[in-house]
Amino acid sequence: MSALGTLDPASKEEQPLVVPEKKRRTGLKLAVILAVWLVGWLIFRGTGTLSQPFAQLNGFDTWLNHIRDNIQAASLTNWFFHGVLGQVSTFVNWLVTQAGQWISHPAGVRPVPQIGWLGVLGIATWVTYLVAGVRSTVLVAVSFFLFAWLGFWASSMDLLIVTAIAVVASLLVGIPTGIVMARSRTVSGIITPILDAMQTMPSFCYLLPIFMLFGPGATCAVVLTVIYSLPPLVRITEHGIRSVSPTTIEAARSLGVTRSQLLRQVQLPMARRTIVLGINQCTLAALSMAVIAAYVNGPGLGIDVLSALNALNVGQAAVPGLLIVVMAIMLDRTTTAVSERTGRRIVQIGRTVARPGLLGRVLSINPVLRRRIALCGGVLVVAMMIYLSRSQLDYAKFQDSWTVGGHLSTWINDVTNNVVSHIDKVTLEFKNAVSYGALNPLQNVLANSPWWLVAPIILALSFVIGGLRPLVISAVCEGVIFGVGLWNDAMVTLTSVLVATALTMILAIIVGVWMGRNRRAEVLVRPILDAFQTIPPFVYLVPALALFGPTRFTAIVAGIAYAAPIAIKLVTDGILGVPETIIEAARSNGVTSWQMIRKVQLPMARPSLVLAANQGLLYVLSMVVIGGMVGAGSLGYIVVSGSVQGDIFGKGVAAGIAIIALGIMLDRIAKSAVDRQKS
């Protein structure tokens, strides 16, 4: 769900003000187009909407169903599907089972894993100290303790195992691919669109086909996770190698190095820091997908979240959800720390000195020696912990009576019920206001106009907002949506996406300006934003349902919850990027705070706002399928249905394709708008 490739650090730079004359012309053109649309809608509404009953399948859908049936039949006998994939499946399942017996599940005759929780905690902490640093070490120790203390040790370890195997597999495939792409424009040109599709295709679309190929069990979860986490790694690897400075490469060339020497001795070492960043993104993506893989029995915390959702128990879902957040923060900070150390090491080529840590400064001894002592001492402690965890039941299996997860979920349930019962009437009114005021009219115009009116209007809008390129891309995407036979559903989904993006932006501007102007607010809000970016959406779906009912608006709320953090962060970034000199100059003219925001900070941060809108849009779009589970209907619901109902399978995939088309179209229009802002 991350769209890191489009994040642009350049937005921090000072931007020229937009020429007002040009803007006004664009506004006029937009107004004319919208007026034409409204008039057309008034005359022709209700005709040519291409709306189709849910159960009706077209030729494309049945063709996809047919392919699925063939593959399924082949998976029993065919040499590739049965032989090769069967071997892969057996191997990965074996690997996960073995790993599980070491750290999470009873191993053979032992009623506990080979290494109990205390031993695993010790090993994890020690390894982190070896590769990352003191702060990460503390974080890892606390996180592992929480996994046990909240009562989800086995599930947490399973999730870690699946994530780790998927990341290793991604590295084996992704880094070589990224390298080849960086060295060949042709290969890059072929693979990039595949990566685009992998990133925008809703995961529910390939859940079932992958499941059919690999069967239930860990393999299916690992394969799903690799599909999802590979693209960011490949992209960032390619980017890292490509951005090695040309002068360095020229210098190396002039020394007469071969292409492979250039790669191994110049490009890879110089790109190392970026590649580690890629691994970081890959790891986080893997974690979030490994949770969704619970839908096909992927082991780990996701299963706990989903079972709690079945019993409508918010508290029971929230605790494992919280642990997923903890795990994400742990993996993120640790891999970031590793990448920072890697960066430092390259700066300090030839020196092996590690930064003196807290302990070193206290003891004021040689940092290298100090570290060696700590590591050697650590080995002894870890060995002791492993020994204890093998011989003492208390240290092998965290006793249920010590855990506090149950109390925590009861407490969360009480608080949630209390809050919900007090505010649900207000929130339902709010839902009605937005639905009747914005959602219904907009949907009426978008989905109730004939397709031959909406299609050219979208093209005209693309041209006015973006230019010629977006026009062509929009035309292709419209063709795809029309071709798969889901025009009307796509328009309904588009309505929700646009409203959700608008609300996201309103929220992002309010909170972003506040955070940009107030340091303390930033410190306070940022962890909440991080949590909302990592917590699986299933956790907050139930309270959202209680507050807003199963409606399109609930889906919009889910979209906002997921998209607002990144948009807020970008807006904050933009506000902070306004040069201090300009703020000072304005202040000396005696402007009020309100004037400062409206006349100085927001206009200066405009490119960041546009970028935030672009990212917000893409994030909202990636929640369309989740929205289908809480009342959004149309494309999202079709995808969900396709993943559980055999007959609908083909239509579900078609809806997935329509979502990709919608995403690419909106993304390219927004990107051109961003580029225009910059030029």
Binding site: Q72, P111, P216, R345, L375, V379, S391, N440
Partner: protein, 323 residues
């Protein structure tokens, strides 16, 4: 660069030390804890029970699973999947049994009749009901609402932001069977089918409707743990007669009563495992299932603990399955 390499190898060395330590400990320190319970699990072996996504099913699965584990020493794996993938799982050999099947005539034709990879393992004793339900407060206040012919009279009451000028009929989980769109059309009801998208959406809607005394008409089903919390009232559609739902587009009658049954993969059924007989013998009532489901959903017990509690309280029923 040289420094970097040297450091790297020191690191590898350190990891090696740790690995050796861990392995040697694994080799010599293993005697501390051993399993006293596990005796002769080999006779039964592995049983892979599909675990479909509703609480009632969990009750079936964990009760049978616990009987198999404790009485026969089987190793039970619960495979968490929705209904149709579970059938596919039996075909591919990764799922051995489904313990609560709701009809699925198309899949019966495909896997049982044509491919012969799945066999029927008898009824569970549970009676499945699908239909339209209203929250209890509505049935009390408008007693005649349970007759479908009066639905149009109340249609405007069910209007929401999602249903335009018509009343809303809320549908649920996309994996369940539904004729609702055809029913609304063929019974000429002034209602619009709105898709909730999940079971959670349905149950939460009933909770909110009952608490705030707001109107709601929704697709729902029994057996369901939620009935132990709230007695929803079923709206009577034109009575079901055999074959009245033959043409999906022309359906104008209620849903058929379902006799829920169990399924096994042919391979498992012929494997000679003692578990096969227990699964075939397993039957209980809606009340039994709802009781276990209530332990899980309302009392917050783990499915395992809930199943064990029921098994301990019902030795006679369990003994009958073991014959």
């Amino acid at each position: 660069m040289i420094g970097g390499i040297k450091r790297g190898s020191a690191r590898v060395g350190a990891v090696g030390v740790a690995a050796v330590l861990a392995l040697s400990l694994a080799a010599c320190g293993g005697g501390g804890i051993s399993n006293n319970a596990g005796t002769g699990g080999k006779a039964c072996g592995n049983v892979n029970i599909a675990l479909n996504g509703w609480v009632g099913y969990e009750s079936d699965a964990y009760v049978v699973g616990n009987v198999l584990t404790s009485k026969l020493g089987c190793t039970v794996n619960y495979v968490k999947l929705s209904e149709q993938p579970s059938w596919a799982g039996m075909a591919s050999g990764t799922v051995d049994t489904i313990l609560e099947n709701w009809g699925h005539d198309d899949l019966v034709a495909k896997y049982i009749t044509q491919q012969k990879v799945v066999v029927d393992a008898g009824q569970t004793g549970n009676k499945g009901v699908i239909g339209w339900y209203v929250p209890p407060w509505m049935a009390a206040k408008y007693p005649d609402i349970t007759n479908w012919q009066n639905l149009n009279k109340y249609a405007s009451m069910f209007k929401t932001s999602e249903s335009g000028s018509q009343g809303q009929l809320l549908d649920g989980d996309p994996s369940y069977v539904t004729n609702d769109q055809a029913l609304v059309t063929n019974l000429k009801l002034n209602f619009k089918v709105v898709v909730g998208g999940s079971e959670a959406a349905l149950i939460q809607s009933f909770k909110t409707a009952e608490a705030n005394k707001t109107p709601l008409l929704a697709y729902f089903y029994e057996p369901q743990w939620f009935f132990s919390e709230m007695k929803l009232v079923k709206v009577n559609l034109p009575a079901y007669t055999t074959g009245c739902d033959a043409d999906a587009a022309k359906v104008a009658c209620d849903y058929p009563p379902y006799n829920l049954n169990k399924l096994m993969s042919t391979k498992f059924a012929n494997s000679g495992s003692p578990a096969v007989n227990v699964i075939k013998n397993f039957t209980w009532t809606n009340d039994d299932q709802n009781l276990v489901s209530t332990y899980i959903s309302s009392n917050g017990m783990s499915p395992d603990a809930a199943a064990q509690k029921w098994i301990a309280a019902n030795p006679d029923k369990v003994a009958a399955w073991l014959k």
